[in-house]
Structure formats: structure tokens, C-alpha cells
Symmetry: C2
Subunit: 309 residues, 2 copies
């Protein structure tokens, strides 16, 4: 069975491609970003169309490989910081690409089902404890705002045109090969043997950390569910929160040595204090999170020390 | 003082241009749609740049006329029906044009204040009675969904970048020169002397009808208010609802003759049952609605019978 992944060359996209290819799917990808030939083969991607997600490119993919039964839409902005530095670019990647994809589905592949990677950033600030899917949305960055608009477009195309989509709100996805964000920053600084490891924020920020290997399995599982609703939103979090202090301490412990992490107290713009999933929806699907935070962080440090390959 | 109007060639845009020109403003316009020379002069528009609302055109306008103190952003989709027939086009006109305008403001005119014409369609279905600005938003058409995203973009640029905007949610704007929607349809059919005047819906649909001349004054007033907040949303409705039955009967009475209007009972897609403004916000501004629905409809019929000039 043929499935497509927009943004297949991204962090989550590469794991998802491998997961689907291993399960026997024929996987084609489209999106921005180069993908070297050996890497395309490594992840099991049959085709990589490096370009804009627009009707011309989607038609080209369909002409060569037929219509997909499922599309995983992972393309889009991937950084709060970049969304502040270049908001129109983030808007274009996240919102405009989704509008074009949905319009193409409406006209050319109305039977396809699209699984969309959104973000807990849509919840934004003012939450504490587990957040359910119907909580108020107060995104505090262009990144979160644009993900929210992306979701609304999916809802709109479902309601008015019957285009089917499932939105998965990803929480803090991490894992080997992630070359940015907290774990990357701490490991990089541990490697440089910095004397004072001072991080932003207070350290008590709570996040629902999810290992990318689990997230890839979850995306695949969602696509394989019998789809009962035209439109569904579901939290992709474990329901368990871990503070930045605890993550940093685990990283340092796995790294070895005795570095003390300190916190500046200065909060970054667009950074909510607490983002943890209410996982009631996922529990109904009987999804099993397999990689504990301890194991995930151990694996991450091992990958980093092994040379980030 | 120099002000710009996006969509100045549209129905509301032309009245607003005349209103501002009469008050001594230098008014420049940009947007899609032709504007004949005599019409440009009639409405008092100094410049009409017929083109996309993008950085290149906005820079060109600024190079010729300097930066505006105020921008009235009226460009965007203007039809629920078209938004269903061509949703990506509506998205592009409403959402993408706003994203480009805000990005240009952020970089090139951060001191400007933008007054944005949104729509009560953002409220959507499931309301009855007056709707306040903080009511739940349940838009039921791509048109309403896209207006909502437009508002969110304004809120996002205000929150993250301090770009100042005031969103006016327009209700059912009508008046001479409106060549579509309910009043136009009924007058057209009265003129053709149709025997059976059957309208869609039940006739008991409630709308907050606002005369375009009042709406133009309101937009001008909003721009002249001392702006206390970076971002504000305000209902542009009168707080008074009139049913479709009553509007149709008034039209028929003004037209003369004895046509009985009937209703098919078939509701149009994307058409909420009731849209009436809670006007508490406007009352604080002491805005005076001057054109009653009786006067407005009489004027409309007169304009129509005089040959729609």
C-alpha cells in the first residue's frame, strides 16, 4: 500500500518512513530539504520529491506512483525561535502548505486520509497539569499560532468538504538524530566541558517528553485505525511530565562526571511553563509507550558520544 | 495625513475612501480589481495600485507616498458561496494577504495602525440573541474560518511583535451599490416581475443589518480613537436584529405592488441562523448609527429603481 509523507526528510519523518517501510508500505516523500541518496535508502524512502507542497508537485507524485491511501503531513515550521525571527516563512511552511495540500486532496484525492503532525504549542501558556484536547488554546508564539491555523484548516475542509484528517498534537519529541533543542544543547556543552552550565528559564518547566521511536509508531497506528470521524484531534503525549531540571540531571548522570547545571531564570519568548498531555484519548487506542525517559535519555547520550551518526 | 486602504475598490472600500477624502485625508488604495478613472475620482482616491498585497507593491506605494499613519485592511474574500466553490482562493485573499501585510508592517512600518475588516461569520452557528466579542467562535464556512485565521494573525503579530491592529467584525452590511446578496436578489426578481418570489431558508433568519454609510463612518471613527491596546476586537453591529421576512416585506412595500414572498425552507450551506451583535463595545465609543433599517431599505430600493448608478 502506498503512503506519502510530507516533510519525510525531517527528524520525525525519517523515523516514520523507516517504521512504515519496515511494515511493508511503499513510502513516497515530498517537501523541502535535501536528502542524500544513502540516507534515502537507509530510511527506506522510495521517492523523494524535493520541492514545494503544491498541486503541481502532488500531481507529479500521483502520476508516477498513483494516489496514496494515507498522507502523513509532517511538513511545516519546526522551531519557535525561527517563527519569531521569520514569522512569514513559518506561516508559509505551516499554514500555506497545509492549505495547498487540503485543496489538492479535495480535488484530486478525496478518499485519502491525512494524518497531521501538530504541536502542543497550540495550547500555549496558562496551563498546568495534564491538558485535554478540548482545553482553551492560547498559543504564545507564531509557531503555535500557525499550528493552530493549520488545525483549523483541517477542521474546515473536513466540515465543508468531507476531507478526512486526524491531527496529532505532538509534545516534546526527542531522540537520537535530533540536532537542536534542550538535549542537544546540554550534550554539546558537556562535550565542550564548559565549566558553568547555565541554562535559560528556571528549570522547573514541565514537558511531556516523547521518544521519536514511539512517536513514529503512534503515527503509524493512527493511520491504521478504522477512521470513525471525519476530523479528530488527539494528544500525542504520554501523560507524564518531567521537569527540565530532571532531564538535565539525567543527561549529566548519563554523560558521567560532575557538572552542576544552573538556571538563569530568564524565560525565552514563546516558551510556555508547562505542557503535559491528558492522554485519555490515547489510552482508548491502547497505545503503549515503550521508551521510558530514562532509556530515551541514555540512548540519546550514547548516540551523541558515538559521534551523532 | 496619508492613509491606505486595501480593497479600496470594493463595496465598503469605496464608501470609506469617500468618507476619508471628505474629511481631508490623502487616501491611497491597493488590491485586486479594476477601478476606472472616473470612479477613482468620484470616490476621492488619490492612487489605485491594482495588484497583490505583497512587500513589493507595499514598498512601491511607500516609495511614492511615504508611510501611512493608518491602514484600513478591507481586502479579502467577500462571499460565503465563493469560499465554498474556491476555498484556496478565499484563503489566499483573506489569510495570505493579511500575513503579507502584517509582515510588511513589522519590518517597514511598525508605527502604523491597521484597522481590519472581519466578519460576524467568525461566530458561525449556534448563537441566538446578541453575540459578544468573546463568544465562542464556530465558523461554518471557509469564509468564516479564514476571517478567523486573519484575526488570529493580527493577534499574533500584536502579541509577539507589537504590530497594532483593531479588528472590526462587520455584520450584514448593505446599501446602495451592493450588487449581490439578499436585497439585490429580491429587487432583481421584483424588477423581473416574477410571479412566485420564493427565497431560500425559512425567512426567520435574523441578521444585524448595517448601512454601508454608517459602516464607513465607524471605520473612520475607529482609526481616530486614541489606541489604548495593541490589539482589539470590536463588533460592528447595531445590536438590533431584523428577520429576513421583515427585510423582504419592507423591500416589497417600498417597491410597490403586492408580491407575496415565500420560503423554501431549504437552508444554504454555511449560513448561520442568527447573527446579531452585542454592541456594548460600540456603545462605549458613543458611535451613533444614523441610517435606520427603514431608511436604508428605502434608499436601496430608490437606488435600484434609479438604474443602479
Amino acid at each position: 500500500m502506498s503512503v506519502w509523507i510530507t516533510g519525510a526528510s525531517g527528524f520525525v519523518g525519517r523515523y516514520l518512513t523507516r517504521e512504515l517501510a519496515d511494515a511493508g508500505y511503499e513510502v513516497h516523500g515530498i517537501g523541502h530539504g535535501g536528502l542524500e541518496e544513502f540516507e534515502r535508502q537507509r530510511i527506506g524512502l522510495q521517492t523523494w520529491l524535493n520541492g514545494e507542497i503544491d498541486a503541481a508537485n502532488l500531481n507529479a507524485l500521483a502520476a508516477r506512483h498513483g494516489l496514496p491511501s494515507k498522507i502523513f503531513h509532517l511538513a511545516g515550521g519546526s522551531s519557535v525561535g525561527l517563527s519569531i525571527a521569520q514569522p512569514l516563512e513559518d506561516f508559509s511552511r505551516t499554514v500555506v502548505s497545509t492549505a495547498r495540500l487540503l485543496e489538492w486532496l479535495r480535488g484530486s484525492a478525496p478518499e485519502s486520509h491525512v494524518i497531521v503532525a501538530s504541536s502542543a504549542a497550540v495550547y500555549g501558556a496558562n496551563h498546568s497539569g495534564p491538558i485535554s484536547e478540548d482545553a482553551a488554546l492560547n498559543p504564545v508564539s507564531p509557531y503555535g499560532q500557525h499550528k493552530r491555523m493549520m488545525e483549523q484548516l483541517c477542521g474546515s475542509y473536513a466540515m465543508t468538504f468531507g476531507v478526512r484528517s486526524t491531527v496529532l498534537r505532538l509534545f516534546s519529541v526527542y531522540g537520537p538524530r535530533l540536532r537542536k533543542q534542550l538535549l542537544w544543547e546540554i550534550c554539546s556543552r558537556l562535550q565542550r566541558a564548559e565549566q558553568a552550565l547555565v541554562l535559560g528559564g528556571t528549570g522547573s518547566e514541565m514537558r511531556d517528553w516523547t521518544d521519536v521511536r514511539d512517536v513514529a509508531r503512534l503515527l503509524k497506528k493512527l493511520a491504521e485505525q478504522p477512521q470513525l470521524e471525519t476530523f479528530r484531534i488527539i494528544n500525542g503525549g504520554s501523560g507524564r511530565g518531567t521537569s527540565v531540571v530532571d532531564v538535565a540531571d539525567m543527561l549529566v548522570a548519563n554523560w558521567g562526571g560532575k557538572v552542576e547545571v544552573q538556571y538563569s531564570g530568564i524565560t525565552r519568548a514563546g516558551d510556555p511553563f508547562s505542557l503535559m498531555a491528558d492522554d485519555a484519548g490515547l489510552r482508548q487506542l491502547s497505545f503503549d509507550w515503550r521508551v521510558s525517559i530514562d532509556q530515551g535519555i541514555a540512548d540519546y547520550v550514547k548516540w551523541f558520544k558515538d559521534g551523532c551518526r
